[in-house]
Structures are given as C-alpha cells and as structure tokens.
C-alpha cells in the first residue's frame, strides 16, 4: 500500500480544508432547497436514471428466482392453479353481473340528486423493485415512473385493498409510502355506518391507529374501514383495514382503536396504480 507517488497529496487544485467547506456548503444548500421546494426533482431524476441499472441488477436475483419457480412448476400444479383460477373467474363474473346493474342504478340515482359521479378507475400494474430503502420508514420503489404517467399523490392498491401512495416520481421508477408509515394518514369511513375518521400509520405494518374517535363513537371490532375519498388522493370505496381492537377509556377524550390493514403490505409484489377522475354532471349529455 505504501507507494511513493501517493505521498504527493491531493492532486486537485483545492486544498482539502476549503474544498470541504465549499462542498459542505453545497450539500447544505441542496438540503435546504430540497426540504422547502420541488426544484431538485430534475437532479434527482437524472441521478435515479443513472442508478436504475444498479437497482435492476440488485432486483435481478429475486426476479430470476420468481421466474425460475414459475418456469419449473409441474404440470399438475399448473392445472390445479388453472382450475382454481377458472372457478374464481366464474365466481367474480357472477358478482360483476350484479355490480353492473347496481352501478347503473347508482349512476341514475346520483344523476337525480345532481351529485358528481366517479368515472371508472384506470389502473396500471406495477412491480415492486426488490430494493430496501430505510428499514424504519415504510417506503418502496416501483418500476413505473413519469414515462408511464405516474404522478405524485397517486394511490397504490393491491388485490385486497389500499397499499399506499406515490411520494416521488422519477423517469423510470417512483417511490411510494405505505399506509403503515408513521408519517401517513388516510381519510376513511366505517363501511357499516359511514362514520368518518382518519387512519394513521404506526410504523408497524400490522397496525393502523384511529386516534380521533370519541369514546361514544359507534365502532366495533370487525368493522371494515374503506377509503372515503375525502382527501382527494385516494379513490373512494376501497377497503383499507379491519378494526381489531377498541378500547374505551372513561378518563380520556378519545378511544384507543387499532385496525389491521387489508392489503398485504409486506407480501405484495405487484401493485396497481390507480388513476381516478371525477366526471362532473354538467359534462354529461
């Protein structure tokens, strides 16, 4: 390791001291701008495009593993799965028949009441990249970005319910926050009676908390919470969580309520990006 030519010291023009000062100042400036404004998304976008190959390579062994386990599945297993899917499909079709009639009826009723109605949601399947962000923040990266029309604040669902929302988009990837992140809150209603409240993340993927309900609130264990769409971010009517524990404490103003997320937060590999658009009534013929 000891070779004479290295002893000549830093080759670049600036001495380390002033250089540290300048770069630290630059870093601080970047942080301040990033915290306050959105101007740095282009820098971040450029860096993320540079890093995309790395993320793809890190993801590769996991993707290969899934691909290999699909490719080597035996014929019986595939047949079994096919049969199960056929049954599921039949089941769902029967439900959809009823849903179509209900949807039409709902649209008629809403038209009579002069209320705006929700257009059909457009969805796009995105895959989670198997890369870890911070272990204590429930964030993840998906393989769709601005090039696919993803925008900040867009809702993410999985087959069972609401998963989270997009917080940052880059050209090829985007970063999302889960509903269980301690910084996340989501407006919900109790499906049984329409009681409105807010579900907050706790930092635990198995638990959401509902801190703003009084002791007298009509809520029970087993109640389904669905997204209310009030914040304007999430589409309304998707399942969010099931109430697991209701503790009414006489001395306190609010009850302590926790709920279990409906979406498989840790197990999801494919997620749905949802575009919602409200169709105003005056746009109707």
């Amino acid at each position: 390791m000891s070779r004479s030519r290295e002893a000549t010291g830093p080759a670049r023009g600036l001495a380390p001291g002033p250089k540290l000062f300048l770069l630290a100042l630059l870093a601080a400036g970047l942080m301040i701008v990033d915290q306050r404004q959105q101007h740095l998304e282009t820098i971040r976008g450029a860096l993320s495009v540079l890093l995309f190959p790395l993320q793809a390579v890190v993801n590769l062994p996991f993707a290969t593993w899934h691909w290999a386990s699909d490719a080597t599945a035996s014929r019986e297993m595939l047949m079994e799965e096919l049969n199960r899917l056929r049954e599921d499909r039949l089941d769902l079709q029967v439900q959809v028949q009823r849903l179509a009639a209900l949807e039409a009826e709902n649209a008629r009723l809403r038209a009579m009441m002069g209320a705006s109605r929700q257009a059909a949601d457009r969805v796009l399947v995105a895959e989670l990249l198997a890369v870890d962000l911070d272990p204590f923040r429930h964030r993840f990266t998906v393989n769709k970005g601005t090039r696919h029309g993803v925008y900040v604040g867009q809702a993410l669902l999985d087959a069972n319910g609401v998963l989270g929302q997009v917080v940052r988009v880059q050209p090829l990837t985007s970063e999302a926050i889960m509903i269980s992140d301690a910084d996340h809150a989501l407006p919900v209603i109790v499906n049984r009676n329409g009681l409105r409240t807010i579900a907050m993340g706790t930092g635990d993927t198995e638990r959401l908390s509902l801190p703003f309900l009084p002791n007298s609130a009509d809520i029970e264990e087993g109640d389904l919470l669905v997204s209310s769409g009030l914040g304007g971010t999430f589409p309304s009517g998707y399942p969010v969580a099931t109430v697991r524990r209701v503790e009414r404490r006489p001395g306190e103003a609010f009850a302590e309520i926790s709920a279990e997320p409906a979406a498989a937060l840790l197990r999801a590999r494919e997620v749905l990006l949802v575009w919602t658009s409200r169709v105003e009534d005056d746009a109707d013929p």
């Binding site: 390791m1 000891s2 070779r3 030519r5 290295e6 000549t8 010291g9 830093p10 080759a11 670049r12 380390p16 250089k19 540290l20 770069l23 630290a24 630059l26 870093a27 601080a28 400036g29 970047l30 942080m31 990033d34 915290q35 740095l40 820098i43 971040r44 860096l47 993320s48 540079l50 890093l51 790395l54 993320q55 390579v57 890190v58 996991f62 198997a130 890369v131 870890d132 962000l133 911070d134 272990p135 204590f136 923040r137 964030r139 917080v167 940052r168 970063e175 910084d183 840790l266």
Partner: protein, 165 residues
C-alpha cells in the same frame, strides 16, 4: 503512472458494490444491522489512494445514496464529507496505526457519520428510533477489519502484477 488505472477501476467497482449492498433486501430482522458499506469503502480508498479519492467522490456517492434511499438530497453527501475529511487530514498518521487503533478510529468516523444523519433527520422532523443509528456503527466496526484486509490484499496483488509486467 501505469498502476493507476486498475486501482481506479477496482475502487469504482467496490464503491458501486457498496451502493448495491446498501439497498439489497435483507430479512426484516437483520435489516437494521446493515453496515454503512459506502462509508467503509470510501474510508479505505481515501487511506489507500488519497490522490485519486477525496471529498469530490464522497460528495458524489453521497448524492447517489440520497437518491437511492429517498433521503433529503445532500444529507448523506454531507455526512460522507464529514466522515472522509479526517481520513484525508490525518492520513499519514492513520496509515501507521495498528489494526485495533485503526478500527477504533473508523468507529469514531461511523459515529460522526450517523450523528450527522441523525442531526439532519432531527432538524427536518424525520427522526427514527435510536437503534437505526446505533446498530450500523457497531456492525460497521465489526466488518471494518475484513474490508481493510480484503482491500489491502487486492492492492498488493495489483502492485505485484504491475511489477511483473
């Protein structure tokens, strides 16, 4: 000057590997224990070839780390700058340190690095549990001797190859 290019390539490869190790998914129980690979790699290369690796690289890889982990842009950059500067400043003294002493020094650098992250998280209201900052210091100190020996061996072999050419 013939020996520079392979060393440079090895250094870049190891830094990219460190970035990959920083995001490779681990089982949930051991994720908090992930050492700060990028810091260790940078400290090593600053010790070994300071004329090539300095604050500019620390800054750049810090920005890459910020983008990868979705942190505030500049956060890891500042922390890496502060952790590599002492290495450059006291390099001649550090290079004659015995292993144990060097490991203690690197531990202090890791503390400085994590403290900077913690401080910025605190100021911006994104702080995490204390374990998130403490564990990487401990595991980083444990793997440092390994990183150092590996890097030294690679450099020595490179020098031998150059000599035999």
């Amino acid at each position: 000057m013939t020996g520079h290019r392979p060393v440079m390539a090895a250094a870049l490869a190891s830094l990219v590997l460190a970035l990959a190790l920083a995001i490779v998914p681990l089982p949930a129980q051991i994720t908090p224990l992930r050492p700060d690979w990028v810091v260790l790699a940078l400290v090593f290369w600053c010790l070994a070839t300071p004329s090539r690796f300095g604050l500019g690289w620390a800054f750049f890889f810090g920005l890459l780390l910020d983008t990868l982990t979705g942190a505030l842009l500049g956060q890891h950059a500042l922390a890496l700058l502060l952790a590599t500067y002492p290495v450059l400043r006291f390099r001649l003294r550090l290079r004659v340190f015995p292993m144990l002493q060097l490991t203690v020094t690197v531990t202090l650098l890791l503390v400085l690095y994590q403290f900077t992250l913690f401080w910025i998280d605190g100021v911006t209201g994104r702080e995490m549990p204390a374990g998130a900052y403490a564990w990487p210091v401990l595991t980083g100190a444990l793997v440092w001797p390994l990183v150092f020996r590996l890097g030294e061996r690679a450099l020595r072999e490179n020098a031998r190859e150059q000599a035999s050419l």
